[in-house]
Amino acid sequence: MGTIRPGQPEGAERAGEARVTLTINGRRRELAVDPRTTLLDLLRERLALTGTKKGCDHGQCGACTVLVNGRRINSCRALAMAHDGDQVVTVEGLEREGVLHPVQQAFLEHDGFQCGYCTPGQICSAVALLDEMRAGAVSAVTPDVSRAGAVPLTDDEIRERMSGNLCRCGAYAGIMAAVRDAGGRLRSAS
């Protein structure tokens, strides 16, 4: 798997490795990786972007959620090589010139965390789901799937769409309030 390689150029290729090009938080990176490297290990171990967390490493907890081409994925279940040419945004890439993303700000204001380990995944997931709802993507709890336009920002919808992100501290009440608030702010701003 990926290893920290101090002093070695990040693109340097070793036996058995293959090249992959990714744009991560707006920066283009050309890397040589072992084909077994997951996107999560690449981010954390090679690029020291440790905001993205490894929880279960089996796609069940959501702690490793990042945005790839604007959609959320579990980076522990993605081979880095399978994302050649893709745009990746991690929790580190959400702020703009020192100003937190509205979802990040809302998590602070509503105590949307306790220990914080699941938080980067919760936030990336929330950013993506608010885009999905604005774009009209329906979920299993959408009452009327034939209705066009943005999906109403109800608690049921938020719960259903955040269900892939587990919080063992049980900060769900704060997470719900944060997503609801950020969603409302983003809609009134657009």
């Binding site: 798997m1 058995g16 293959a18 072992d34 084909p35 077994r36 997951t38 490493d57 089996h58 796609g59 279940r77 993605a78 081979l79 090589m81 399978a82 050649d84």
Partner: protein, 64 residues
Amino acid sequence: MRTFTYTRASDARAAVAAVARDPDTRFLGGGTNLLDLMKMGLAHVRNRVREPHKHIATGVSPST
């Protein structure tokens, strides 16, 4: 996890041809948990093929 080579096929036909040529080659498609099985040592794969921008049916059982 044992190592493997990763091949990105240009289209579905090339992906199917790559798998047909070599019984140790597996599809990597949307929704598969092949990577989980490989992490746990339950599946070993020498080659993996991914066709860009499409999900290939994952009705291929990994060898154990």
